[in-house]
Amino acid sequence: MSKEPGRMVSIWTWSALILAVYGALLLAAGLLRLAGNEAPPATLKMTHLRADVWWPAIMLAVSAALFWAGRSGERGG
């Protein structure tokens, strides 16, 4: 994340960065579970929907949109 001295980094960029880091971590964890084919704990429900894979992917897509908003000059403050 680069910024000019004295300039405020857009809030959209901050939000995008946080969502991107979270999305990447969760997607990696979800894909590892998928590849490992490990059985989920019996207490967990609805695991067949694989939300641990597609939800982080959606988060990454939203973070990309927020990065774009941050770059397009929207001010964060």
Partner: protein, 554 residues
Amino acid sequence: MITLTLLDWAIIALYFVAIIGIGLHLKRHADSSRGFFEGGRGNSSWVAGIAFLSANLGALEILGHAGTTLKYGMYVSHFYWVGAIPAMLFLGLYMMPFYYSSRIHSIPGYLNLRFDERTRILNAISFALMTLLMSGINLYLMALVFQVVLGWDWHVSMWVSAACIAAYITLGGLMSAIFTEIVQFFLIWAGLFLVAILGISEVGGIDALLADTPRNMAHLWATAGNASENSMGVTWAGIVLGLGFVLSFGYWTTDFLVVQRAFSSKDLRSARLTPITASFFKMLLPLIVVGAGLVFYRLQALGEITLLDHPITEKPWNDTAIPVLIARYYPTGLAGLGITALLAGFMAGQAGNVSAFNTVWTYDIYKAVFRKDASDEHLVLVGRITTIVGILLSVVTAYLAMQFDTIMDYIQAIFSWVNAPLFATMLLGMFWKRCTASGAFWGLLLGMGTSFGIYLGLRFGWFGDGVVWFLTQAEHPSDMAMNLWQAAWAWVVCFTATVAISLVTEPKPEEELVGLVKGLTPRADSGAVPLLGRPGFWAVVALAALVALNLWFW
């Protein structure tokens, strides 16, 4: 109880790193009073709008309303729709021009310009007390939820989060609060919306969910003709007048905690668009809150799921509905995200209270009473010290809440004591130039006293059956119904007293009211702005969406 893994802990730790990083980054932009207290007055309506909504969207509200849904069902949606949207649109269209154009720092500041110092101080003190109480109870509930759900030590989670909030608000002031509120907004959707999606999928979709919900909880208006036919025990008149008009307008148009976000906008048009933008996001929140609550209700009826017990009352605790659903649906990693969303919600709610408190204390109490000639640098220093003192007082309040558990019963009533009568004062002040300073002060005092008196009378059984019926239109009103009606009475008394006293006292000269009262203030922007940039256009769209939602879930 949820067991966290290393990945979950990493996700939670990253959140703390991010918000402290935001505070450090913003410090250099918050060295003037304009930067520290007003967020620089340079935000777009998107930034200010999301912050406006998020300031109200603490985890207390999310967990609390999801839990309340187990009791009142779809009726909780009224708090997000008729109990919020019309007031937010009214603020943007009609009240914001007076607020923004008068260049005030706070709502008490407006009262000082429009009326006098007495009304300002009365509102500043009541707002400061309300904010500290809410802040402390918020902190207390956060620690309690994490103790029950995660087994975290009560004292550690409270002090760590309080220290973190103190750090980033002291560094970056209002802008820090706004930034973290926006981060919180995205985290809440990322961390909690999935709970509702998976839950609704499990019970067979929205139609199946509503079909399996008892009739007295499954509708918005179809059972509102008679108080005995719905779970809230309230008629449509109570909903429309008590919630939709008095409580809602009282909160959304006069509570400085939310209105302060609009003051950070870059121009009047953005300020007017701020609550209107927020209204669209507000309308979507029942997807998470009421959706999850109804899913829990259904699964509970099927014997699939149970609430966790409250550690003090040892009875099932409705506020644990969402954390229990997180444990049901979220694997490692997503569980950490869900907990982070709750943590972010609690902390942003807390930060909102603290940033509003430091502004009102610094400008409307300290500068107004103790140091009228304070310099800009001095005010920023006072603001920073006030932030730390405010956080410490919140912690003290949280410990008091722990000792006196019944203090939490007062949460719902606090808004009706402070905000409901204030709305009558603001309405008359902005739209009636004959309204006088004495009328406003005594009307506000009487309205607040009325609300408090009715609250005590109803809760402690001081009134006979006839009086209870007269006051609430029900024989056995629920707590929520009592709150709605005491707010309505407070508004009526304040309005009537203010008008009556104003008619026999001397108003301010008109030249002193320019920019503060309708009819003496130039009209807001319109002409050259394209249709898609006009607040009026988006307000009509929001209103149409509100009507559609109410018809859908009638």
